[in-house]
């Protein structure tokens, strides 16, 4: 299922009129780095944590052709909790700040 580092899983996003999109590793990496930095982690630590979390999410995505963005968020938050609980909290709840 791997193709050039990316996997062929489609992500169904929240909301109406949204078509499934191909899973983007870089997008997930960026959002996890942002959560780590927002939780006070240094940049290098944030990058390495994000790489590890993305690897865990990618392995979870194997053999799953279609998932929702909420599934990815939930799995990523669970993986992130091991490395940085504060970042996991921010990642999980940043949509419910307002």
């Amino acid at each position: 299922m791997h193709e050039g580092g990316n996997i062929q899983t489609h992500v169904v996003k929240n909301g109406r009129h949204r078509h499934p999109e191909a899973f983007e590793r870089e997008k997930l990496h960026k959002s996890i780095v942002a959560a780590c930095l927002g939780s006070g982690a240094p940049t290098g630590n944030a990058e390495s944590t994000a790489r590890r979390v993305v690897d865990e999410v990618v392995s979870w995505l194997q053999k799953r052709p279609e998932v929702t963005s909420n599934d990815i968020r939930r799995v990523a938050a669970k993986a992130l909790r091991t490395y940085h609980p504060d970042a996991s909290y921010l990642y999980e709840h940043h949509r419910s700040i307002m």
Binding site: V33, A34, A35, L37, G38, S39, G40, T43, D86, A87, Y89, L90, H93, H94, R95, S96, I97, M98
Partner: protein
Amino acid sequence: MDIFTSLAIIAFAALIHASFQLSVSVLTLLSSHTIGAKRSRAKLLRLTSSFVGGAALMSLLLLVSAAFVFLQLFGAPVSLEVWAIACSVVLGIGVAVWLFYYRTKKAGTELWIPRAFAKHLTSRTKATRASVEAFSLGLTSVISELIFIIPTLTISALILLELPSQWQLVGALVYTLVSSLGLIVVWSLVGSGHSISRVQKWREKNKRFLQFSAGSALVALGFFIYINEVVALATGVL
């Protein structure tokens, strides 16, 4: 009502305004996105300072606008009927804050505002890059929480009309400064390097207390004004 009591009521109303969380939510999001986008600390401070400045200016503008409109409509000093209507608005919104302020019983600090409005504010916050955008976001965020701050603005504006003209400016400045305290606290925490997750965790942990205290304070303010202005004037005590 003497000048000290008037200023104390304005400060108390402004403190209730400060306890409302929409502007604080926007500031928290703005800080989170700015840090997450790896922008410099100087940029973070510029954006958050501009946001707080915009919010403070809009609070001041809304207060003086309300005072001007009330002066044109009702003259000064205002009649018993106007005070009675203002008190019922304060009491009504106080009870509404008790019941409806936060949207869900789940985790998070989602507020009882239209979701489309919240989404728009969130997308504008994400798109904010320049200080002028942050400033206008501060202006907008205060307008967005107008439904909650109508009672504090109304009472403060009516009290301002009773003050001597030289004290009206002091009253308006007291309201602006005190109503910005919540933002100033978050701004200083973010500026001094506290993590956004800690700020947000504190907000979530204490959200029910903030909701209860804001609602209770509004009810107390409504009763106090009712007794002090309506009952006292009607019975001829004052």
